[in-house]
Symmetry: C2
Subunit: 368 residues, 2 copies
């Protein structure tokens, strides 16, 4: 059994699930048996502080941190914890105690500010795994600096655990040429569209998505399309396109008249948009089509927005909160290569992170 | 640029396409640039002989071999070629001339007899890539011996270039548990089913599949379901199930009354099955269902056979010669993780081989 140290920035839903998977009797055990690697947590950091132990944090210590985070507490209040308000600061604390070569840093935050620490970690010879999309959707130069080495991996940034990034990289590495990428990248927007197409009102659909826990606390964070734009930008940049987030033409799934309100006002006035949305659904249905929030990367500027698509086509048939990604290439031209399934959720996102950690460990350790 | 020597058993459609991709200006160039690896052919072998050059066969020499094979010639008749009627024999010729550690052997044959050579190559420290399903569908002990090391890879054995094996291994490695796998694994049978569902007769559909080049020269090689059974066996064994090919319950898509005839007799009497098949299609249509040749790995004994499935479901909607594989797991339970697309053809099969070669080279060479 080889021990691979890892550390975690962000002990929220995804980070906690990752720790539980690795500690668990079932999944953790299976990973150790199949992969022959034991991932050892050496640091857990949140936005206020970190716990560090180069020899590996004890299971009791990890459990304590998980319990604190579940109770909305902070790591900094735990015994032995140190204060740090940035990823760079906690990384400095870790580097002072151990050599990072061959270790793995996981960014499971939703922070804009981790990029410098990620670059430092790569520089120090560590692998880096992201579920956080933001470091890759900042300025293009930052994306290029981060992805210069294969030691940065980010499967979970698009479609959570679905093999999207690995499939795209596999096509590109093997010399295929991407001609178009299309898809539905948001479980929340998929859920709202499916409800609309079944005849529910826009206001009811949005409120139900919130109740079901699919939407962000402010549902406009999903409805505005920014999350879809980030995913589309990551895929476009992987294809070699020199784009900034502002180059993407993403239309919010919020009627213009409800723009710029407070959250409470927005939720109260949601029904004002019902008639307009119902009308779009009706018009689509007349053409045997349905509404879908589609990202399309084939245009000079990638687009995202509500579209009327064939009810019987791959995008129109999408169920519930599933994601779908269609790759059209030189080799897959008549019908695309497509990957589909649940594209959000803690377990599948943690699963995407784990797959990347395993690949990094294998490439680092080499063959028997 | 790092040079990775490789050799090829089987210079047929897939093997030739692989060589052309690697030699080509477009794909080969892109691979060298993106991956930083040059794959250098050191041996080409067919069933009668081989060309070998440890320093790398010249482009002219490779071109000569490709031209000979296209003209239905044999490698053994080329200048400098040596006779060998088994993979073990050509491998011995190669081993006498070079150390195989870090090199890659590709089995693109359809031979039953390559397994001993594959084991020898692994023993000698080489990587091995298969599009040939047969070595993995012989006795279970042989499968286990071959897959004991990650240096054997075989993405192209199921779904050609589609990320099927890598997705399954990723799920298993990350500690997920497979609860069921379902799918359509045969482009030929998919094509015939689609034609039947459109109202074409069985005889016309089979003949058209032959004309279009989808079916094997004797279409019964596809229709009997053996190819589907081999793929189902590989997936089942990867999931850890101790099965032999004979344990699978596969129903041929050939009416019993046409069993055991000569090929000519079979083709002449095809129309005798038309009424029976048309009846099945009609009965299915009455239930809003269609016919599909489905492999189901969830039962104690995996099954394959013609089924009536929901026309609007993932299996019923399958277009043309596409394959689909649905993974139901502990983490993907409500809706499955699915991979879909063209699952046969020279370019996509060669593409699957290439992806494996790149992974092997990366794991061998390690990180920067």
């Amino acid at each position: 059994m080889r021990r691979v140290p890892f550390w975690l920035w962000g002990v929220g839903g995804v980070g906690s699930t990752l720790l539980r998977l690795l500690a668990g009797e079932s999944a953790g055990q299976r990973i150790r048996q199949r992969v022959g690697v034991e991932f050892v947590p050496v640091m857990l950091a949140d936005s206020q502080g970190y716990l560090v132990e180069p020899a590996g944090l004890t299971p009791a210590s990890v459990e304590q941190a998980l319990a604190a985070k579940e109770g909305k507490g902070s790591i900094v209040n735990l015994p032995g914890a140190r204060p740090a308000t940035s990823a760079s600061e906690s990384l400095a604390g870790l580097r002072a105690r151990m050599n990072l070569r061959g270790a793995i840093g996981v960014d499971a935050t939703a922070s804009d500010a981790t990029a410098p620490a990620l670059l430092d970690a790569l520089e120090a010879g560590a692998g880096v795994v992201l579920s956080n999309k933001r470091p890759l959707t900042g300025p293009l130069a930052q994306f290029q600096a981060l992805t210069r080495t294969r030691r940065l991996r980010h499967e979970a940034t698009v479609g959570a655990g679905l093999p999207v990034i690995s499939t795209l990289n596999g096509l590109l590495d093997s010399g295929d040429r991407i001609t178009a990428i299309q898809g539905c990248f948001s479980g929340t927007l998929g859920y709202v569209c499916a409800a609309l197409n079944r005849g529910e009102s826009y206001s009811a659909a949005v409120l139900r998505a919130m109740e079901a826990g699919y939407a962000e606390p402010d549902p406009r964070d999903d409805l505005c399309g920014l999350d879809v734009a980030r995913k589309a930008l990551i895929l476009s940049r992987l294809c070699g396109r020199a784009l900034e987030l502002s180059d993407l033409q993403v239309r919010p799934m919020i009627p213009a008249r409800l723009d710029g309100l407070s959250k409470e006002e927005f939720l109260r006035r949601l029904p004002e948009a019902d008639a307009e949305m119902a009308d779009m659904v009706r018009q689509a249905a007349g053409r045997k089509q349905v509404l879908s929030y589609v990202a399309d990367l084939s245009a000079p500027a990638p687009t995202g927005g509500l579209q009327s698509v064939d009810a019987a086509g791959p995008l129109g048939r999408l169920a519930g909160t599933d994601n779908i990604i269609l790759f059209y290439t030189e080799r897959y031209h008549d019908t695309p290569l497509s990957v589909q399934g649940p594209g959000a959720g803690r377990a599948v996102t943690a699963s995407g992170i784990l797959t990347d950690m395993i690949t990094l460990a294998r490439e680092e350790l080499g063959h028997d």
